[in-house]
Every structure is written in structure tokens, then in C-alpha cells.
Symmetry: C2
Subunit: 541 residues, 2 copies
């Protein structure tokens, strides 16, 4: 869904020139093998600060402090981490102006509404929801068998590595975002890895994190930050015996390398990798409300310059007059709309390379297709077109993610062929079907939705996939290669916390020794627990 | 926890000589590359029937039928699979005499009480619990956000490969056991792989499965059975794009090979691999109730000839007069007790090799240590001893699983050293602590239990780990390498079903199109669902 390649690495630099890393509660000089800088994607100008590429010795110190923090957290009531998360949310709000200014400088994302009115509030909302979940304890699904005196509960797992992506400098940040909040709320320390696209923003976030740790008297290894390591040290980190699990959002290639290392060590690795988010537009929907569908798609496809994991990059239609008119209409709108600034030159070049792959597979470029000359990171809004037949000949290449403001329209001979295209799809985060409201599409919907629902984490009707609500019912997940496991979500509290937990059963353990969540008395008076098969907020007995 | 190596492979045999495989609802000739036979572990006599080693063409046919069955299942109400599971439980009970006779012949496990009074009733109980879970729907954790109209639920995943182990011919069988029941109840077809130790028992079980499928009119690819494939075809099977996930119980080496293949394809692979199940006996427990602890341990350690995944193979004590007396007492009992029959010559040789590894690491053999001469599969009851110091020098070798009637006693210098030994442990299924009831061990307990609980799936007090109750609160799981994921259990319904499910979110999906579990009306009147954060058996609104 994104790339973590740095915009410009300045190679070997002396340690003194690079910004410090956050280890064990202090900003300290990195033992660095070099440094890197980023550029302003709107101007192409390099930004002065140089960030370190840490050597393994930094990782070793981080792991050691995180392990200590984990043991300290085990002994603390959950309310302590809730206090921390709430203090942090407040601090982010106070530091808002500096945060959004720096994020804008590094990512090109608009200060308003995107950064200050949408993403930062989303981030603090996530932190507060996570705090509430930690306080309530219901997330841990305490399960009590009173007859056999066997009791189980999800508990903290160990230090969690969080690799943040380039496209959400706050809401998915390794030291502020959804994985971070879920990991902390579940009782784990976090080892944050900054996205190489916005290290300065990450530093500012981490400064608030450290202040909130101090304010709430948390163990100093609770949250730490490294900017970058060598690839090999990344593999070593996620497979280290002290690590509990990893949350990763980023490029597919980098993610799969890390996943292989973690898998071999038996460490859970939750990756969100890539998704083209198919949108099926059935004939009845176009016949019934053509302009509404056009508006929906044009709005969603270019939203955030298409730099969302859930951006609708693949549209499936039946080849017909109205189908072709729809494609032409969208092409016209893409041509007229200004091309937004992309996050980085790396995103720009991965987008043009994705477009090139689609083109080489046989897709026709209707509009755009080229990078925009100049220092700004941008590619012309791009719409490609192919037939269902072409798609079915080479479904792998036609499913290439072109992350950014590009999409592929596939005109299928008929609904049978469209169904075959759906069957050929890999796993995706989302899938949408637009259909008529008068029932004429219903039989087709049923067959197509059954296939599509096995391929996606979230199925939508008559609604575009961008916009991932932080709801307990959300699934921001999906079958491989969208993510690494079809049973988990990265957005939505409390479900996202279960990724960073272990199931622990207490068999005949004396009652005074049980964790609070498993004792006879309901620990908060309102915690949901399953007692003898019935969910209840009551006590045992 | 076990080995799936066949007792005796007879190499290349013509296809006609081998038993048929169950594919797409018919017993048909295998396209076999050879065949294998097993021997009676009590007598060493070969059993006549020859079972096929399937070529990939068999797997291909199985995958194709399983995929069809999966699509058919998607359209059936959950009550249909419940009917099947219940019909099957009844049939197993009717076929009991033949089943236990064959299982006894192939495994050496006693007909009574083990096979007929414990394991078969456990198996039918699991099937009925799984049926009840499928009917109730509460397992799927339907989650409804009424304000945003976002709804999510766990749904079936696809064909599940189940590799059954050698040590439970019924209760963990690929066509009858816990993984099987969980996979079917969650709505998935099962591709059963027989343990090479008891193929004849598996055939008899599968005959009942086929009859139950016919009786309840299920799709013919619902359950299929292969006896064996090449290693390469096994890897290909678990990573096939049509497979949803795999449940595996068996040897660590074989399991890790399969896991690597499944991981690389992004297919969940739930493995139960190996566990030494540490038992800590604190000084106060020995002082307070020495003989009770002796009885507990002697009973558990040799139960089932030590051939349980949860057999207590590692005992940690403080070196003292009473500690040494305890070890000597157990050694005396092991010497006097008759050595039971092991499951196979393969288990016998893996046990002697495990003992040899422990001995080469420096453990002293107190009693036993050798295979018993003759055709019977047996090893003398074996007790080994080492010091905490020795253990800490080479924790990896000292944690070698000696699957069978052998155990290692580690005498630690003091509780600090014992704590260090705990810290050096890999993941295990279980961990026990025996302590005094008068409080004198309590401070030590607290520190040790906190460490131990991060290493095990199930923590016990004053109770041995053998005996894995089928309870909703059970966790038969644990951190790697005990299993492949610390968040899941292989025993206990409904939790075990979640391994074979995908989370699917329905975002703005029209209400008539929602799965029954997500519609406004509670589909059964008693299904537990989380509506706006509250668990309820009610309707929406």
C-alpha cells in the first residue's frame, strides 16, 4: 500500500550530524552506519535534518529496554496504560500546529482539512478508544468455566515492533497510530520504526510520547524510536526472541522479506501489504443512477491522491454503451482534475512503474500515464482500460497495485466473464458492488458477492471503500496478500488489540493468584466476560 | 509432540494392491507412487492392509472436490453441518467395537479404559459440542455498529487440511478429531491426512464419515481422506491457493517444513509441535505434602506411556535433601512400574534418540535409558537428572522433547537459579507450579509464575498438565515452538473454530443481503452478538 524507501539517502555521515534516537527514555546519539534526509514533495527542496541509520547495537539497547518495560507493565494495572494513552492524546492536540506543519512539509498532505481536521483527530480518537478498551478489559475476552475452574484470557505478548507507512504520518505512525495504540492498550511496549518518508514528524510525535511517559510515570522502555536500520538488522529485529510480534504497514516486497524472517522464528507478523480494492458496477446501477455512481467513484479514486490502502484501483463493468460512457466520463474528470502532490519521489516512481506494468500487460492508457516534470512529486491522473479477456490472460500483472492517482477499468464481455475475473483475484482489503435498488441486479449480486466476500476483508454495497471508520465492527484486513492473516483487523478497537496478545489459560490456579480479569468479582463492574458460555458483566456465582 | 513417520514402508507396490482413498464421496483407487504397511506395536507383527502413497493427481482431485464443497457449504445454513456432526457422533458410537479393536491393533493403546471409555467418548463429545456451536452461531462473534451500519462476523475460510498425530487415533484424527470438528463447524470442508501410524483406524472412521455425509445429504467433497503423499506434495498442498488453512499436530521437523511452505503462500498454518511442559515444585509444597506431589507426578508422568503432548517431561526443583529424596522416589517408582507399549518403532527410536541427546548434554540416567529388546515397541521407564547449572549451559539440548515414558529432573542450586532456568525456556503448552498452601511459597510463586506465564499456553497450580478438558476456557496452545501462534487453541469449543475462519466486514450492505448472523433479528433468538459494544442475545433496535 505504500513504500518505505527513503526519498534521498545521504550515505555515510558521522554520528554527530544525525538526530538522536529515543532509547530507554532518553534521546541519545545513535550508533549509526549513516544517515538520510528527506525532501519536501511539493518543492523538491531537501529538508535539513539528517536522521540516523542505526546499527544493531541500537537495536540491542532498544530490545533490552523494551523487555524490561514489558516486565514492568505486567505488574501494572491496565488503568496505567490508559492514563498514558489519554495523556498522549491531549499532548498531540496541544502540539497540533507544529505536528501538522512538519507533516505537511514532509508528506505534501494538506494541513487542512486532511492533517489537522481529519488525521490528527482520528489519531487522538484511536488513542482514547484504546485507553477506554484497556480500562474496560472486555477486549481480553475473559472466559471462565466455573465447573472445571479453568479460566482463560488474552494477555500482553511482549515488545511489539511497529513499522509505520508513508501515507498516514499520524494515524498509522509507529509511535502514535493504530497499531501503536492497540499494542500499548494490550499491555505491550512498542518499538517504533519511523517511515523513512516523514522522520521529522515521527520525531515530533515521539517527543510528545516521551513527555506523556514521564507525566504518567511509565517504564522508560515503553515506547522507543529508531528511524532506520539495515535490511538485515530489520530481519533480525522482527525475529528476535524478545519480540512478541510485529505490526507492519508498507511495501509488499519489504513486508514479505520481514514476514519470512518472523515466520521462521515463530513470531506473529501482521502485515498490511497491498490491495487494488475491486469495485464492481452492475448494469442496473448504471442504468438507475449513473451520475451518482460517477460522483462516488470520481470522489473516491482521487481522494488523497489515491494514496490510501483502500483506494479503488480496479473497476469491473460490463462492456456496453453505458459502461463505456462511464469510463469516458471518469477519464474526462481525471483529465480535468489537478494532479495532487504525491508523498515522495519514491511513490512517484513506484506509481509510474506500476502504470508501466499494467500497460505492458496490455492495458490502454486513457489519460495520464506519465510523471509530471519538475521538482514536485506528481504523476498525471491516470486511467487505464482493459478487457475482461485481457485480464484473464494475465491476472497477476493486471492486479499490480499502482499506488497513487491511477486506476484500471476492466470492461467485461458479460457478467459471466466478470465473475471469472472476480474468481481470479488475489486477497484484497475491500470489495464493492454497486447494484440497482429495484431488484434487477439481485440474482447477479448474490453469485458475485459470494465469490467476492471470500476475497476481501470488507464488502461494501453502493459505497466506495475509502474512509475506514474506527468502529468495533470494522475489518481493515483481508486474505493474503492484502494482509498476512485473514482473521485479524488493523483498524477497529478492541479487535485490533488481539493481534498483540497471547491466550493464557489458568487451570486450577488459586483465586488470589488469578489476573484481575479472571477473579470471581467482576474487576470493573462492567467488564464483559464469558462465564459458562454466557456473556455477562456480572460476577462469578 | 509425536511423529508421523510410518512404521514400515514397503516401497513401490502396484496401485491395485493398496486400499482406496476417499475422494469426492467415493472410495476410489489412489494414483499411488507406492504403499506402506504398519505393524502391531504389541507384537511387532505386520498388519496385512497396504495403504497408498498418493501422487499429486490424487491431491488435485481432492482440492477440486473440496473447493466445490466449500461453495456449496457457503449456501447452506449452519444447522446442516451441525446435523452432519451429530449423525457422525452417533455412527462412531455404533461402530465403537470395530474402531477400538483396530485402534488397539495399530497403536497398542488399551481398549479399556483408554480407547473405548475415554478417547472415543471425548471424540463424540467434541463433535456434539462443535455441532452445538455451529447451531448457536455465537462462535462467530457477530459485531454490529448500528450507527455506522458496519457489521462483521467470522465466516468460513475454505478447505482445511488436517494432519492428525500418531498419539490420538480418534480425538485428534484428521477425519474425526478436534481440528476436524472445528473446521467443519466453522463451515469448511476437510482434507484429512491420516497419521501413518494408524491408517486402518482412519479408514474405519472415514467410512462412518462418508455414511454420515450421505445420511445428511452433504456435498461429497465435505470430508476426504488421503493416507500419505510425498513430502513435496505435502508442501504443495498446504500452500495451494484453494486451501484455506491447515491444522497440524505432529513432529516438529515435519511441521516446520510444512509451515514454511504455508507461510510463504500466506496460508494460516496452525501447528502443535512439541512441548516439555515444565513442572516447578517449590520447597514449601514438598515440605507440606511430599507424598501427594509424588503421587501426582508418578501418575501423570507415565500416563499413556508419556505419549501426551502435555506430558510433564521437565521437573524443576531446588537441590535439597527433600528434593533429592523426591527424585529418588520417582526413580524407584519408574523402575518398578511396567514399561508400557509405545505407539510404534518410530516413537521408540525417537524416544531413545531424545534420551541420548539429553545424556550427551550431561544428564545422568537414574533409571531406564534403553529400548526393551524384542518385537514389542517399548523403552524402559526413564528418569534423567541434571543440575540447574548444566541446564543453563545448554538450554537448547536440555529442552529436547523425549516423547514417551522419560523425564528430566533438574536440581537447581536455589530459586534464583530455578528462575533463570525458567527464563531460558522456549514456548510450551503447559507449565505447572506446586507450592505450599500456607503462604510460605507465595512471594517466590509470584515472580516465577509471571515468567512462566509468558512461556506457556496454560498455567496450572498443584495439578499435573495431562488431561486437557474440552472446555470453552481451555487453551491447548502456547508460544512457539509449542505451537505456531500464541493466540489460538486447538482444544476448546468455540475458540478452536476461530483458527479456521476469516473476519468479514459488511459495510453498508443492504439488510436482506447480510448473513443471517448479522441481520437485525437475532437468527436463533439466543445467539450472542456484540451490538454497539454490548454483548446481547437480543435483536438490533
Amino acid at each position: 500500500m505504500s513504500t518505505t524507501v527513503s526519498k534521498s539517502s545521504v550515505g555515510m555521515l558521522s554520528t554527530k550530524q544525525t538526530s538522536p534516537v529515543l532509547i530507554a527514555g532518553t534521546w541519545q546519539a545513535s550508533d549509526a552506519s549513516g544517515g538520510f534526509q528527506v525532501s519536501n514533495p511539493n518543492t523538491g527542496e531537501p529538508i535539513e535534518e539528517v536522521f540516523p541509520i542505526s546499527k544493531w547495537s541500537d537495536c540491542e539497547r532498544v530490545l533490552s529496554a523494551a523487555t524490561e518495560a514489558f516486565h514492568a507493565l505486567q505488574r501494572m494495572p491496565a488503568t496505567r496504560r490508559a492514563d498514558f494513552l489519554e495523556a498522549l492524546a491531549k499532548r498531540f492536540e496541544s502540539a497540533k500546529d507544529a505536528l501538522v506543519a512538519k507533516a505537511n512539509e514532509e508528506t505534501g498532505l494538506a494541513i487542512a482539512p486532511r492533517l489537522s481536521d481529519v488525521e490528527l483527530p482520528r489519531t487522538t480518537n484511536q488513542l482514547r478508544q484504546a485507553a477506554a478498551a484497556a480500562r474496560s478489559g472486555s477486549w481480553a475476552m475473559a472466559t471462565i468455566d466455573t465447573k472445571l475452574n479453568i479460566r482463560s484470557v488474552y494477555e500482553s505478548l511482549g515488545p511489539i515492533c511497529v513499522f509505520g507507512p508513508n501515507n498516514f504520518p499520524f494515524a498509522f505512525s509507529g509511535v502514535a497510530g493504530g497499531d501503536f495504540a492497540a499494542a500499548i492498550a494490550a499491555g505491550n511496549p512498542v518499538i517504533g520504526k519511523a517511515s523513512s518518508s516523514h522522520p521529522g514528524t515521527t520525531r515530533l510525535l515521539a517527543e510528545q510520547v516521551l513527555a506523556a511517559m514521564q507525566e504518567t510515570n511509565m517504564p522508560m522502555g515503553l515506547v522507543q524510536l529508531l528511524y532506520r536500520t539495515s535490511h538485515d538488522d530489520g530481519l533480525r529485529m522482527v525475529s528476535d526472541h524478545r519480540v512478541g510480534a510485529t505490526g507492519y504497514t508498507g511495501s509488499r516486497v519489504g513486508g514479505l522479506r520481514l514476514k519470512a524472517a518472523a515466520d521462521a522464528a515463530g513470531k506473529p507478523f501482521y502485515a498490511e501489504l497491498s490491495s487494488v480494492n475491486p469495485v464492481v458496477i452492475l448494469p442496473g446501477a448504471l442504468a438507475e443512477r449513473y451520475f451518482k455512481v460517477v460522483e462516488d467513484y470520481a470522489g473516491s479514486g482521487l481522494m488523497g491522491v489515491g494514496q490510501f490502502c483502500t483506494s479503488p484501483g480496479l473497476v469491473l463493468l460490463v462492456d456496453s454503451d453505458v459502461g463505456r460512457a462511464f469510463v469516458a466520463e471518469i477519464a474526462g474528470r481525471y483529465e480535468k482534475a489537478p494532479a495532487g502532490t504525491l508523498l515522495s519521489k519514491a511513490v512517484q516512481s513506484s506509481l509510474t512503474s506500476g502504470i508501466e506494468t499494467l500497460r505492458s500487460a496490455g492495458a490502454k492508457v486513457l489519460v495520464g500515464g506519465q510523471a509530471i516534470d519538475g521538482p514536485r512529486c506528481a504523476v498525471a491522473n491516470t486511467l487505464l482500460q482493459a478487457t475482461g479477456e485481457q485480464f484473464l490472460i494475465d491476472p497477476t500483472r493486471f492486479q499490480t497495485e499502482a499506488f497513487g492517482n491511477a486506476a484500471l477499468m476492466v470492461l467485461c464481455r458479460d457478467l459471466n466473464q466478470l465473475h471469472e475475473v472476480l474468481k481470479s483475484l488475489e486477497g484484497n482489503l475491500t470489495g464493492c458492488i454497486y447494484s440497482a435498488t429495484d431488484g434487477r441486479d439481485d440474482a447477479d449480486y448474490e453469485a458475485l458477492a459470494l465469490t467476492l466476500s471470500t476475497k476481501v476483508g470488507r464488502l461494501l454495497n453502493d459505497k466506495m471503500p475509502t474512509g475506514v471508520a474506527v468502529s468495533p465492527a470494522m475489518n481493515h484486513g483481508g486474505p493474503y496478500p492484502a494482509t498476512s492473516h485473514p482473521g485479524f483487523t488493523a483498524v477497529g478497537i478492541p479487535a485490533s488489540m488481539l493481534r498483540f496478545a497471547k491466550l493464557t489459560c489458568f487451570d486450577a490456579v488459586r483465586s488470589s493468584r488469578l489476573p484481575a480479569l479472571l477473579q470471581d468479582a467482576n474487576p470493573t463492574g462492567t467488564t464483559w466476560r464469558s462465564i459458562d458460555g454466557q456473556w455477562t458483566q456480572g460476577n462469578v456465582g
